[in-house]
């Protein structure tokens, strides 16, 4: 006799999940009305474009690298400014250190709204207000990076800073004592790791952001694509790939170190 060992309710729910997935998928596919001829034409174009891609040239490499540096710098500056703003605000927002509950609540809602709007949209708005260029990139990135940092900082303050904050409060320390002597020294390394992680995310984003007019290597990529210059485009893609790949490896290292610290 076969004895079922799996949990029945879980199994039923999982089946339901897949059923819903299929039931949603089929009408959506028909709704989108993808045309087979368009697909076939696109596929037929692949060999031609691949040939153009493969005429790789090193001519534009210096230009690409300068623009890459610009991208990294945009990310760097926006993270530096964001860290300053986020440090100031996250102690006002975090539950354990908030001086005023109502202010904290309002700020929390604002941070959620800022986080919901994708970075690209922020940069688009900044470019529309400031004009094309690196400054618009820094301004546009400022909002999502700050809100990300505030969110992760407050989570850390609430989680890890509780004991030292309570100890200083019990001794009659002021808010400044709590923040400067209690929370910051205990959370110093965690904050640094979070900032590094955020910096790497931001670099990955700046590469894209040039494509909407915020300066950096994305501007070049967008130019190549709109003028159908595929040979330098491949070079650009490779430069971006190598940079982001190295960054990803660094992020993994940081995450590992964070994990081992937490244990």
């Amino acid at each position: 006799m076969k004895i079922p060992i799996s949990h029945k309710a879980t199994k039923r729910n999982q089946r339901l999940f897949f059923l819903v997935m299929i039931v949603l998928f089929v009408p959506c596919l028909f709704y989108l009305n993808l045309s087979a001829t368009q697909f076939a034409e696109g596929i037929a174009r692949i060999p031609d474009i691949a040939k153009q891609f493969l005429q790789i040239s090193l001519d534009d490499l210096p230009k690409l690298l300068t623009e890459l540096l610009t991208s990294v710098i945009i990310a760097f500056l926006s993270v530096v400014i964001s860290v300053i703003v986020a440090l100031l605000l996250s102690f006002v927002i975090a539950d354990t250190t908030a001086p005023n509950r109502h202010v904290a609540k309002v700020l929390r809602v604002i941070v959620v709204v800022i986080r919901t709007i994708p970075t690209t949209i922020w940069v688009l708005l900044a470019v529309a207000s400031m004009g094309f260029g690196s400054m618009a990139g820094v301004l546009g990135l400022l909002f999502p990076t700050t809100s990300f940092l505030i969110k992760s900082f407050t989570a850390q303050i609430d989680e890890a800073g509780k004991d030292s904050v309570e100890a200083i409060r019990a001794l009659g320390g002021t808010w400044w004592h709590v923040v400067c002597n209690g929370a910051i020294p205990t959370l110093y390394t965690t904050f640094l790791a979070l900032i590094a992680f955020n910096f790497e995310m931001t670099v990955a984003e700046t590469v894209i952001l040039g494509m909407v007019g915020a300066g950096g290597i994305g501007v070049l990529l967008q130019e190549y694509i709109s003028y159908y210059e595929f040979a330098p485009l491949l070079m650009g893609i490779l430069v971006v790939f190598i940079t982001l790949f190295l960054l990803e490896m660094m992020t993994n290292q940081i995450r590992k170190r964070l994990n081992s610290q937490a244990r």
Partner: protein, 261 residues
């Protein structure tokens, strides 16, 4: 001078040095991209003014016009999530340490996936627009590529985290490769699969907001269109619709997660 003092001094010097390096890097950055601090600082109030004066109030006259892009975006999300989760599932099984049929397969797939993931999504979208022309098709394919890059890695990680003992027990009974997958690995992997797939759906909704910028359909095209026409009050409406959509999708997926896991 004793040892402790020297150590303390060394640490101080190190801290000073990193601070100096940081200041130097900041100054270099400011110089390199010709970052004008005064102009930047005066730009912030201008930007806020732009957001709160030019964009307000949102133009609510033709809300029905935006129904189509919202439905498009949701349909994009469903189709791209389902297709990419199926493809990524197969790749993940071939790619994870404990289920890969051959090390060579694993290394090759890993490098391909890492390439797909590390080329920015907007670049993929733009190339696909060149291939397939403006419309929904490049958008769908870009989202599928995004999904494959993202999900294969996460699926593979969850498969690698599976409890080894169950797999060993099934292996000890002389199970074939497929039986091993079916009886030991898939049941343990299911929660991870569902959770990441739901997360992917959230990401596609956010991403399809961006896709419109390169002409690949979705609600992003409305943002781009209204901004190019300087109809900022309509842009505000679209952005608000997008925020609501993202929050609703996040809420729904969160509920599903609570029910299922």
């Amino acid at each position: 001078m004793n040892r402790a003092e020297m150590l303390a001094r060394q640490r101080k010097a190190k801290r000073l040095l990193s601070l100096l390096l940081f200041v130097a890097a900041t100054l270099f950055s400011v110089w390199f991209i010709e970052f004008d601090i005064m102009e930047f600082l005066s730009g912030i109030p201008l930007f806020l003014n732009f957001l709160f004066v030019d964009f307000m109030p949102p133009n609510l006259d033709d809300l029905s016009k935006y129904l189509q892009p919202v439905l498009d975006t949701l349909a994009f999300g469903v189709v791209a999530t389902v297709l990419s989760s199926v493809i990524a599932l197969i790749i993940a099984f071939l790619m994870a340490h404990n289920t890969s049929p051959h090390p060579v397969v694993r290394v090759v797939l890993r490098s391909i996936i890492s390439f797909i993931r590390n080329v920015p999504f907007l670049v993929w979208a733009a190339i696909l627009v060149v291939l397939f022309g403006v419309g929904t098709m490049p958008g769908i394919f870009a989202l599928i590529l995004l999904g494959i890059g993202f999900l294969s890695r996460l699926y593979a990680e969850s498969i690698e985290e599976i409890d080894k003992h169950a797999v060993e027990a099934v292996e000890a009974t002389g199970a074939t490769y497929l039986q091993k997958l079916r009886q030991a690995i898939i049941p343990q992997f299911m929660p991870g699969y569902i959770s990441w797939t739901l997360f992917m759906f959230e990401i596609t909704i956010r991403a399809s907001a961006i896709l419109g910028i390169v002409g690949a359909g979705g609600i992003g095209s409305q943002i781009k269109l209204t901004m190019d026409l300087f109809q900022y009050s309509s842009t505000a409406t679209v952005v608000v619709i997008m925020i609501i959509m993202i929050l609703v999708v996040e809420y729904v997926t969160q509920r599903i997660r609570e029910r299922l896991l």
